[in-house]
Symmetry: C2
Subunit: 273 residues, 2 copies
């Protein structure tokens, strides 16, 4: 395995994930030699953080790196892969929902390097706990990517393109949709003269519980027992926001149905959940 | 104000909230003198933890305590309030969705003591950060409750019965519904041979972000920009679970609508969110 400081990496993209991943790799001693982004400002800002070169021109991308990390919007990935001149480096992308087949089938020096986390440019993250899902077409490429991933995280897992798509869907539920429920809660409080910060201990504890319990076993509240008294009262209090009323009803029914199904399946297959 | 160790408290109820609250009060030096519960086992177990008396008989409830904390299911509260013989102690309940009017209007020695958190009997919680919402009909009763609440938490807030109902609804969104989305995510992963533990860093980071950002500003993912490519792909991958498909669609539309509304309202009233 090559040592970090002799591994040259080019970043294609300078967004949230590219920023966090490149900074984490640099910290581990990897040589990030260039950042490419169509947006000059993004390229320059990230390159300054990394102390490396940057470009907005495809033809200026350095051809002699060991690894090219494509970390761009799904919609831009295919076109970039087709436009950047081929070279001897390994090409990977970092997208949950894109298959490895975004790289042409003839290219065996390619793979996927997918760290499952929500990233922000201005928020530093500890990669140690972040699961990194890898995919490659050849064993030596996989081993190369695994070597790098294990420098960052103690949780490195092989996953197929299909599994990664379901990971992404699960992440949409657990992160994007969850965050939306926080936003809904803030809105309800604001409209009633209450401060969102009062919900934060509850939000943190609910999240912390996932470390000790299966969520299905930790489910509490009026919906799980379908307490119609409370549910109807809540629905009537939401009468002036029909969209929230619908969402409340749907989620409550879904929770109740889930609890029934889980109970049945745990009676049949006690170890399933 | 009475000193903790000269304040005698009876707990009516021995569930999750009663367990956590009584243990926290005992730790602060309060004298928990008795636990009442219709369920012998619950009463005995909590009383053993507290080192105090217990009973399942209403007529055996000690009449000379300073404070009676009713911490029972909403559906049992009204009946208990009407059945327990009146005395000179202050009576409070701990229910988000029940108004202070569950106590007869003639009783001025009553109130509400509502700690906003999700409690489990077997999980110890630090009350310092937990907001406690108080309501009372008389100033001296409020001051008495505030004295106790401030021994436990540095976040004690007065709230009306109506505000508390909205707090409870917000908590249902931020805790119960959120936990359900975790359960959905676990289910999706299980059915695809993936381990739920891989989502935990993402879940924790999403929750942690509420300490630094308004959730509406932290919203990421395909729904907020209504990326139909990704959304349609996800919907087709959920084809074998129509209920999840519907939930995914509803939440995505809701997120998108919210983002549009927030953008409009921030253009009109820049400081609202």
């Amino acid at each position: 395995m090559k040592r970090p400081n002799s591994t040259k990496i080019v970043f294609i993209g300078a967004g949230n994930l590219a920023t966090c991943l490149s900074l984490a790799l640099k910290k581990k001693g990897y040589c990030i030699c260039q950042v490419f982004s169509r947006t000059e400002n993004s390229a320059r800002i990230l390159a300054e953080k990394l102390g490396c070169a940057w470009t907005t021109q495809i033809q200026e991308i350095q051809p002699d790196a060991d690894l090219y990390i494509f970390s761009v919007k799904d919609s831009a990935l295919q076109q970039l892969v087709e436009t950047i001149p081929s070279n001897n480096g390994i090409w990977v992308h970092t997208a949950g929902s894109m298959p490895i087949n975004v790289f042409p089938a003839t290219n065996t020096r390619c793979g996927v390097f997918y760290p499952l986390q929500t990233f922000s440019k201005e928020r530093s993250v500890d990669f140690t706990e972040i699961p990194i899902f890898l995919e490659a077409r050849e064993e030596d490429v996989y081993a190369f990517l695994e070597g790098i991933a294990k420098e960052l995280s103690h949780n490195v897992i092989e996953a197929t393109s299909l599994q990664r798509q379901y990971l992404h869907i699960a992440a949409v539920f657990a992160c994007n949709f969850t965050n939306h429920l926080y936003a809904v809660a803030e809105n309800i409080l604001l409209r009633n003269g209450l401060d969102f910060k009062n919900l934060i201990p509850l939000i943190l504890e609910t999240a912390q519980k996932t470390k000790s319990y299966h969520p299905i076993d930790a489910q509490t509240g009026p919906a799980v027992r379908y307490d119609e008294n409370v549910i109807d009262k809540h629905l009537s209090l939401l009468a002036d926001t029909p969209a929230l009323q619908t969402l409340y009803k749907e989620l409550s029914q879904h929770i109740h149905q889930y609890a029934i199904t889980a109970k049945q399946s745990s009676e049949n297959e006690p170890n399933q959940l």
